[in-house]
């Protein structure tokens, strides 16, 4: 293999590939998966938590889902420490826009700026790329609800349904088969759980292994809301979808 072209991120291989970027995507392929689905009344993000040891302290913060601004959230797959840096950058960027213009940042502008940062790490500086793929879910007044997927190369695209992380290809093809335009959030959640249950490596789907977040408009006020599903509500959803299996220790 052309190993001699691996050591520097900022050069092409003779076949025109950026190996470091590809290796970053490999790393993400071993990480917990995340799914995003665009519904008519919101965006649904579901993530698989890889680390579920009993010894892990129950922490208030989420592992896969992050709020970037009141109208924007993301799910991550990959190296968490890399993700934290980028999420911080995204949050700062959103707040700077809000300070200057007193309005929430348009979703695609935020995604594009973040991806420009990621791209920079593939072209100069001699630093390795970020080993994270994101699923951004947000709402703005011009384009309504949107879902974007970005990868270590700095490429991004708008999607109706997308998957990142482990078994993302299988998940993506399943989504392609079962996704229908105009799904409601409820239907999107059910679909996401169904797809995850089939593609996840672990044998059973329990509430501790999943995180679910939704971006939608509050019915009364019309304001954008980001909501992380509580473990209890998660359990109920799984039961409703017929996906729970009794836990081995009660």
């Amino acid at each position: 293999m052309s190993r001699r072209y691996d050591s520097r991120t900022t050069i092409f291989s003779p076949e025109g590939r950026l190996y470091q970027v590809e290796y970053a995507m490999e790393a993400i392929g071993n990480a917990g998966s995340a799914l995003g689905i665009l519904a008519s009344d919101g965006v649904v993000l579901v993530g698989e938590k890889k680390v579920t040891s009993k010894l892990l302290q129950a922490s208030r913060s989420a592992e896969k889902m992050y709020k970037v601004d009141s109208h924007l959230a993301c799910a991550v797959a990959g190296i968490m420490s890399d993700a934290n840096i980028l999420i911080n950058t995204a949050r700062l960027h959103a707040q700077r826009y809000a300070l200057s213009y007193q309005e929430p940042i348009p979703v695609e502008q935020l995604v594009q700026s973040l991806c420009d940062t990621k791209q920079g790490y593939t072209q100069f500086g001699g630093l390795r790329p970020f080993g994270v793929s994101f699923l951004f879910a947000g709402w703005d007044r011009t384009h309504g609800f949107q879902l974007y997927m970005s990868d270590p190369s700095g490429n991004y695209g708008g999607w109706k349904a997308a998957a990142v992380g482990a078994n993302s290809q299988a998940a993506q093809s399943m989504l392609k088969q079962d996704y229908r335009d105009g799904m409601t959030r409820e239907e999107a959640v059910a679909l996401a759980l169904k797809v995850l249950s089939k593609t996840m490596d672990s044998t059973s789907l329990t509430a501790e292994k999943l995180e679910l977040a939704e971006v939608f408009l509050q019915p009364g006020t019309g304001e954008v809301q980001y909501q992380l599903c509580s473990p209890d509500a998660m359990g109920k959803l799984l039961a409703k979808a017929g996906l729970t299996q009794p836990a081995p220790e009660a």
Binding site: S100, Y101, Q102, E103, P106, D140
Partner: protein, 247 residues
Amino acid sequence: MDACGTQAAAAAAGGEGTQRTLYPYVTGNSVIAMKYKDGVIMACDTGASYGSTLRYKSVERIKAVGKHSLIGGSGEFSDFQEILRYLDELTLSDHMWDDGNSLGPKEIHAYLTRVMYNRRNKFDPLWNSLVLGGVKKGPKGDEKYLGMVNMIGTHFEDNHLATGFGNHMAIPILRAEWREDMTFEEAIKLIEKCLLVLLYRDRSSINKFQIAKITTEGSTIYPPYALKTNWGFSAFENPSKGAVGTW
């Protein structure tokens, strides 16, 4: 006009010296604006004074900004031109995103507030009072916006605004007679009433005005025109009557 002297003295002293704007040189006077049924109307005269001289008489102090806004400026005219340049850069980069989004009047007002306030904090203000008005389609329909920001960064929004002497002479009229959803013709009448008072009573105003409007269809800046004034008062006919002697 001793700004240069201060700098020369400071330079001669060998230190960096302080750089601060002390006073404006070429100034535009009042701008009046109000919301009406279809959007926002803005008006001002086309004069710019050099101290007490009415030096420039065909100056356009209201300009379109992007697709959704109008800006009117009073105060130092060169600073107003600088602000227009900043807004040009802003609208250009907004356009280059090419993503279906465009900055509305609220965003531009917020941006200008940041610029003005940060300059004042450096003791190098842009010596202006700016009025920013516009209409943009929002989730609740067409949202009209009218805001003001001045050289120290004070900013607020209202249904009608004025700068300079307009604050003292036009605002009382607007407070008494402005109503929600006036037609274009009604708004013009009210604005002309204010402009006339300013023409009579503000010595730095001239009888050449421009009216501009902004609606969802876009902005229109009308060509300049003059108002009819009435000087036919009996006391003006023989001004020296009653003045005894030449002392």
